[in-house]
């Protein structure tokens, strides 16, 4: 993680996000503006709106529905680009508003156990590091468990985050059993009276039965120490992911009981529109979005800002 952004003037995450979007030639803002400068809203225009939503990974069903909603009551009326953008943003926001819920840490539970899951390379370890930084900054005593015992140097990666945030990291050897590691970490966190325990897991594709069983076992073993744990199970999604995210959420939810989503890497050209489809289908809370590489680039998810960024509305 580079911390090179530190010396630059601080911007809000959303300004950076929409700044990024502005630079993409195919962003919704430009495209819609091209399409509907002083035009009558007709079938072709709605198709075009659908297309730009498709480009943002909203998926066919949701893109179609939102395009229809935009057309409702406005058909054959002249409409400006800004109005269309606003309507699109409102429709997207409607879907996202119910799922924009912050991660609530119940401080009566000690430790509050957060399990972080996801496919390979989605950004679990980095998210844990950022979460640890955030929670310690809020005055909580954090502990991390290096549950990714499969990937080479994943443990070292988490230890670096431990040093940065001043939190202890419980780790075993590479290739050791992740469930027993989780067990030890939870016991340790209890003894040390830590406020929060963040448990990392190895990345796994959701269609690999044996790896999903391993995750299930991890949850089972954690429950043996604390019947209510893990108190939060975060699924980390990469913003570039397409329709496969639906299958990821389904499978991880079934196996580990996902309680919330985190979307990473929104600082690229990908717009993460799949979150809209996910919100419609699974209604799981979206807690955070990752919009950069530095330690504080984990921002709370807000429906309005996200929807406006997707629709390409500036400021």
């Amino acid at each position: 993680m580079s911390d090179s952004t530190e010396d630059k003037p601080k911007q809000s995450w959303w300004r950076r996000l929409s700044g990024g979007l502005k630079r993409t030639s195919t962003s919704l803002g430009t495209a819609v503006a091209d399409l509907v400068t002083k035009r009558k809203l007709d079938r072709a225009m709605l198709d075009d709106i659908e297309d730009v939503l498709l480009r943002a990974d909203l998926g066919t069903a949701v893109a179609e529905r939102i395009a229809e909603a935009v057309g409702e009551g406005r058909y054959d009326k002249a409409i400006s680009a800004d109005e269309v953008k606003a309507v699109v943003a409102t429709e997207v926001e409607k879907v996202l508003a119910p799922v924009a819920r912050p991660l609530v840490i119940d401080d009566t539970l000690k430790p509050f156990v957060i399990l972080v899951v996801g496919v390979n390379g989605s950004g679990k370890t980095t998210t844990i590091g950022k979460l640890a930084a955030k929670l310690s900054a809020e005055g909580r005593k954090v502990m991390m468990a290096a549950g990714d015992t499969f990937r080479a140097a994943a443990i070292e990666q988490l230890k670096v985050w431990g040093e940065r945030t001043g939190s202890p990291v419980i780790a075993g050897a590479q290739g050791s059993d992740s469930a027993s590691l989780a067990f030890n970490a939870l016991t340790e966190a209890r003894n040390e009276k830590r406020d929060v325990l963040l448990i990392d897991t190895a990345g796994r594709l959701q269609n690999k039965a044996e790896l999903m069983n391993e995750l299930e076992k991890m949850v089972r073993v954690i429950r043996r120490v604390d019947a209510l744990a893990p108190h939060a199970v975060l699924l980390v999604l990469d913003a570039t992911v397409g329709q496969n995210a639906l299958s990821q959420v389904e499978a991880f939810h079934r196996t580990a009981g996902v309680t919330g989503l985190v979307m990473t890497k929104l600082d690229g050209t990908a717009r993460g529109g799949i979150l809209v489809a996910l919100a419609e289908k699974h209604k799981l809370p979206v807690h955070f979005i990752g919009v950069g590489e530095s330690i504080d680039d984990l921002a709370p998810f807000t429906a309005r800002d996200f929807a406006r960024a997707v629709a390409g509305i500036e400021t």
Binding site: L54, T240, A270
Partner: protein
């Protein structure tokens, strides 16, 4: 990963093949479905558009050749266009250069660069017998360099010693130097992950390229990528300049439309695919075969190749002879079961056959998988020689003993015996015909017609065009077994209905 797409397209084209003449409206309806299926498979919108446009143009104007249904024509056009988009021939890493050959890996964060670097290093070492050096230029992600070092240690492949505080370009130069001095054939440069919008990082990659003069620049990209695939492939190609693409996580259940998109916008070949977590899970990319699977045509070429490679001709001839005489005991059945599992087992065979991917899922749900073959072989292995030759002597107490020996229930023994009887009957009936040894199993498993004999398989393999252009001829040469229905597998209880192949309408073999 492409199975889902093939299901969709299979279903759509099904509707077409069952109609007589092909009107413009038909094509339009089909194209709408093709568009939707491709979008759901994460093919980028622009690529979908140009794809369906091209197909529509050709489909509407196409003169339908006699003896081919209009639907088949569309299938062929879609198939050809898919191959054209995916790249018409399998291209792999180019090692024709003066060593040390520099290969640079680029990609977004978390796309699998480091793992792929290790996989490639292993492949080049083991398969191509090259001396490989790996170097990590990722000075940003914590422990990224350690990750490559650990992988190198596990694989016994050298990695460049880590020197703290060096810039990526410096490390690249050091790797080059070490490659020359150490007499390495290939030097792999694993670069830091970056976002497409990060100008600094993109110019860093470009600088590394200038410093290292790589022979190959490979974009490592996640096959689960959505619409952003076009952006990322285009920006890496424009800023750094690519020679090829490596698709990772192809073993996931993503639909893999990103492959089509990236190939289309960059024009650069997909050279390799990552198919698992282990370091040996790196395979060649075969556009023609994958296109066939997308279409639900099945990987018939692979099936035939596998069959001819794995069937022991002599043994097969012996079995055929015995069958002709109406002798088919449990030893013969065991032989056939083993041959089947050599060819990849039920799921392997099914995966290669057209249009059965959906059935495969149903079968998995019904608990019918390759373990059944293994179990049945185990049951036969638990019998005495006499029992194998004369299954009729098996009574309750013997069955109990066998069941205990094989770790099965007595019902399983009965099921196996029933299957054997069914097969033996079939053999007797067909005893006079010139059938291959697989015929029995194919028949008993309800494959419809007989499978070809090894000689026929071999002849077929020789006739089979290696490339992609075999579509119209292919069906005529297909074993009848692949055309008929594929219903009623033995012991397949959970399934109702009679699943059939999508009926791509291959012409029936003339009697």
């Amino acid at each position: 990963m492409f199975d889902n797409l093939s299901e969709r397209l299979g279903g759509i084209l099904d509707r077409l093949t069952r109609r007589g003449a092909l009107t413009e409206a038909d094509v339009d309806a089909a194209m709408r479905e093709v568009r939707r299926a491709l979008l759901e498979a994460d093919v980028s919108l622009d690529v979908v558009r140009s794809f369906t446009d091209k197909v529509r143009e050709q489909a509407v104007g196409a003169t339908v050749v006699k003896s081919v249904t209009p639907g088949q024509m569309v299938v062929k056009i879609v198939h050809d266009e898919l191959i054209a988009t995916l790249g018409s021939d399998g291209q792999t890493i180019d090692l024709n250069a003066v060593p040390p050959i520099i290969i640079m890996m680029v990609g977004l964060q978390g796309s699998g660069k480091t793992t792929t670097t290790a996989k490639l290093a292993r492949r080049l070492t083991e398969r191509d017998k090259r001396k490989v050096l790996m170097a990590s230029l990722d000075i940003y992600r914590p422990a990224a360099m350690e990750q490559l070092a650990v992988l190198g240690r596990d694989l016994d492949i050298k990695t460049l010693p880590i020197v703290a505080g060096q810039k990526p370009e410096q490390i690249a130069r050091r790797a080059l130097e070490a490659g020359k001095l150490g007499g390495y054939d290939v030097v792999l440069l694993d670069t830091a992950g970056r976002t497409t919008l990060d100008d600094e990082m993109m110019s860093e990659a470009a600088n590394i390229k200038t410093a290292a003069h790589p022979h190959e620049v490979l974009l490592v990209a996640d096959s689960l990528t959505g619409q952003d695939a076009v952006n990322l492939a285009r920006s890496f190609d424009e800023r750094v300049g690519l020679t090829g693409i490596v698709l990772t996580r192809v073993d996931g259940d993503g639909r893999g439309g990103a492959a089509l998109s990236m190939r289309q916008v960059t024009g650069k070949p997909i050279k390799l695919i990552g198919t698992g977590e282990k370091t040996d899970a790196l395979e060649d990319f075969h556009p023609s075969r994958i296109a066939g699977r997308i279409l639900g045509m099945g990987d018939v070429v692979s099936l035939v190749e596998k069959a001819s490679a794995n069937i022991d001709a002599e043994k097969a001839a012996r079995t055929t002879e015995r069958m002709r005489k109406g002798q088919f005991d449990l030893n013969d059945m065991r032989e056939q079961l083993l041959q089947m599992s050599k060819m990849g087992g039920i799921s392997g065979l099914m995966g290669m056959m057209p249009g059965v991917s959906k059935m495969k899922n149903q079968m998995a749900a019904a608990g019918l998988d390759d373990r059944i073959i293994k179990r049945q072989v185990a049951v036969i292995d638990s019998m005495t020689r006499q029992e194998r030759k004369h299954p009729e002597i098996l009574k309750a107490s013997r069955k109990r003993r066998i069941a205990a020996g094989a770790g099965q229930k007595v019902e399983e023994i009965n099921k196996l015996l029933k299957m054997h009887r069914g097969m033996a009957d079939m053999m007797k009936m067909m005893g006079t015909g010139k059938r291959g040894p697989l015929a029995g199993i194919a028949q008993a498993m309800g494959f419809g017609g007989g499978m070809p004999s090894p000689e026929q398989m071999k002849a077929l393999a020789e006739k089979m065009p290696k490339g992609a252009d075999g579509l119209p001829q292919l069906p005529k040469d297909l074993p009848a077994g692949l055309r008929g229905g594929l219903p009623n597998l033995p012991g397949l209880t959970g399934l109702t209905g009679k699943p059939t192949l999508p009926g791509l309408g291959f012409p029936r073999k003339k009697k």
